[in-house]
């Protein structure tokens, strides 16, 4: 019998028990729909996270002081002697692949504008900082070199800080007080949203690093030109590893670390961060995928069950088909095609429901989803595979029947 004729026979058989066929399909429908929803949401989420991490700058190296070690006791991150403007200058001068570099000092301070106040993170930065972080201004301008040299009382506000102080009104040109020092608002940063690790990147205020030292956090600093962090933008991703090694050599030299002594500073890149994040993400996807796969298997068991019932019910039909000349493989393919048709039909319905749900989630729930043709193909192929796998045993049972026993079956 040719495949087309087998297919027609299978569809006719499924139509006879339409409700039963539908109920048998339900498991596969739910399985495929959940595969589509789960995978599209999970991969949508991981794409969104990756995009945000990339927005932090993948060509970024962050240098911070490491652990102070004394007599075997390690005091923890940031306890070693701080970085300095000197370090920044040397790195900028002697590492050729550095595109821009910024030193930062940090503190927390109350901001006051008229009657409202807001305490936020205040960063002392240089004019390269915005370029290094790839942060955009929504309004206003960056610091000028003159302002930095002079220690001008100018401030750039993050979106959250600006909103807390001025509401929806523009902050540009307004005066605010930071630790009772009056500052002019010269710029406002574009909204960046949450960082990859969940903190609000918009809750921030930037002032020239010279001003921060002189007017705000000077008393807290033990070394006059220290830096909390140095952020370095490297010209390209390929140069990252070399640049990192060069910076490490320079810093070990400047900090007079003996050969074999551990680094008391850390040079991290965002790629590290992306790797960790992606690993977590893929474990999560794997778990969700396994759940979806289990539901497909459960659906497959439903198909197998109904096919076994169908084979038993149609024993006499099988006997008759054999009596008029059906070979074992004709019977096998008839029931196998029936099971696969059941699964693929269920898969198509599940696909429609699943992608509908995924699209609905992205439209009304603002979930980032990624519905790829590959995912659709995989979902349908796995439904067909479930049909072959779980349909084979009942079909084989039908094909192995003895014609006369099948004909006489009551």
């Amino acid at each position: 019998m040719n495949p087309l004729a087998s297919f027609r026979v299978a569809i006719a058989a499924l139509k006879v028990n339409a409700l039963r066929s539908f109920l048998a399909m339900l498991g596969v429908i739910i399985g495929v729909a959940s595969v589509i929803v789960i995978v599209s949401v999970a991969s949508g989420a991981s794409q969104a996270i990756e995009a945000r991490i990339k927005a932090l700058g993948t060509n970024l190296l962050i240098i911070s002081p490491g652990s102070f070690t004394s007599g075997g006791r390690r005091a923890g991150e940031g306890t070693a002697s701080a970085l300095s403007e000197g370090d920044l200058k040397v790195i900028r001068a002697s590492v050729p692949s550095v595109a821009a570099a910024a030193g930062i000092i940090q503190g927390s301070a109350p901001l006051v504008a008229g009657s409202s106040n807001w305490t936020t993170q205040v960063n002392g930065v240089n004019e390269d900082f915005l370029e290094v972080r790839d942060w955009a201004l929504a309004e206003g301008r960056n610091f000028t070199e003159t302002e930095l040299r002079a220690g001008a009382k100018a401030v750039i506000l993050g979106a959250t800080a600006a909103r807390e102080l001025f509401g929806s009104a523009s902050a540009i040109g307004e005066q605010i007080r930071i630790m009772n020092v009056p500052f002019n608002v010269i710029g406002q940063l574009a909204v960046k949203g949450q960082s990859g690790w969940g903190s609000d990147q918009d809750d921030i205020a930037l002032v020239p690093i010279t001003t921060a030292r002189r007017r705000l956090f000077g008393a807290e600093q033990t070394i006059p030109d220290n830096l909390r962090q140095i952020m370095v933008e490297i010209v390209s991703a390929e140069e990252m590893a070399d640049a990192q090694a060069e910076i490490e050599t320079i810093l070990r030299d400047r900090r007079r670390l003996r050969v074999g002594a551990p680094d008391d500073f850390r040079v991290r890149d965002m790629a590290d961060f992306i790797r960790t994040r992606t690993e977590t993400q893929s474990i999560l996807s794997l778990l969700l995928g396994a759940t979806a796969a289990i539901s497909l298997v459960v659906g497959g068991i439903g198909i197998m069950n109904i096919m076994l019932v169908s084979v038993t019910e149609r024993t006499r039909e099988i006997g008759l088909r054999m009596a008029v000349g059906a070979r074992r493989r004709d019977i096998l393919s008839q029931f196998l095609i029936e099971a696969v048709a059941l699964c693929v039909l269920g898969g198509l319905i599940g696909l429609a429901i699943g992608s509908g749900a995924a699209v609905a989630m992205s439209v009304w729930g603002n979930w980032p989803i990624a519905l790829s043709p590959a995912l659709i193909a995989i979902a349908l192929a796995s439904a067909a595979l479930v049909g072959i796998f779980f349909g084979y045993y009942p079909a084989r049972r039908a094909a192995q029947m003895n014609p006369i026993d099948a004909l006489r079956y009551e």
């Binding site: 004729a5 008759l320 008029v324 000349g325 070979r327 074992r328």
Partner: protein, 240 residues
């Protein structure tokens, strides 16, 4: 030349018996005990015979018929049909044999439900290795032969018992079989319809098809040109 030789071969084939059983044995295991359904029968049946097989139930007559139709395989002994030793054929070859050489008519008709008479008749053509490009035309011709051309689109549930059995006969004829096997084909029919069906068998026999009917009704058996009577797995009478 070729035609002459073919004629010679077919002349020879006509001379040789179509079905030859030698010491044919079929036993079943039922529970722990072995039941001897056929206990070593030997018989020859010629092409174009009209044969009735009779006997009490359990005498082995249906078993004999199932072996000829290759629905079942012999336990021992030899059964040759048109030179083929059925016991030695694999399952695909047996399927082909059932498809091309024999047509079955059963007591319970065994038509596919919710399937039109025409599609029921076309069923053997679906499994024919010769293809089925004209399956529906062929099936229609067969329905005409049994006088049911006007019922082609009816489903079995819309047909009377006699009509259903005629559809089953048309199905048996679809692949132009050499042997027609009818197992209690009139057992479920009234006497008038029985007469119609038997008449049809006789017509078909007249066209050269070997007709073998299993029956326990003496009236029907008497109409055949040869009668085999079975008792306890043996042929006790072979009368013309």
């Amino acid at each position: 030349m070729a035609r002459k030789r073919r004629a010679a071969i077919s002349e020879q084939a006509k001379a040789a018996p179509q079905i030859v059983a030698r010491n044919l044995v079929k036993t079943y295991r039922l529970g722990g005990s072995v039941i001897g359904a056929l206990q070593g029968i030997s018989v020859e049946i010629a092409r174009g015979e009209y044969l009735a097989v009779t006997g009490a139930s359990g005498s082995g007559k249906s078993t004999f018929m199932n072996l000829i139709g290759a629905l079942d395989t012999p336990t021992s002994g030899s059964l040759k049909v048109e030179g083929r030793e059925l016991g030695k054929l694999g399952s695909d070859r047996l399927a082909l044999y059932r498809n091309e050489k024999v047509g079955f008519v059963f007591q319970t008709f065994n038509l596919l439900a919710r399937t039109s008479a025409l599609d029921n008749v076309a069923l053997p053509l679906l499994y024919s290795p010769r293809g089925h490009r004209n399956a529906r035309d062929k099936a229609r011709t067969c329905l005409e032969r049994v006088g049911l051309a006007d019922r082609a689109s009816h489903q079995p549930s819309e047909l009377s018992g006699g009509q259903q059995q005629r559809v089953a006969i048309a199905r048996a004829l679809a692949n132009d079989p050499h042997i027609l096997l009818a197992d209690e084909a009139t057992g479920a029919l009234d006497s008038h319809t029985t007469e119609e069906i038997i008449g049809l068998f006789e017509e078909l026999n007249a066209t050269g098809i070997t007709v073998i009917i299993v029956t326990h009704e003496p009236d029907i058996a008497r109409r055949a040109r040869r009668r085999l009577t079975f008792r306890d797995g043996q042929i006790v009478e072979d009368a013309a």
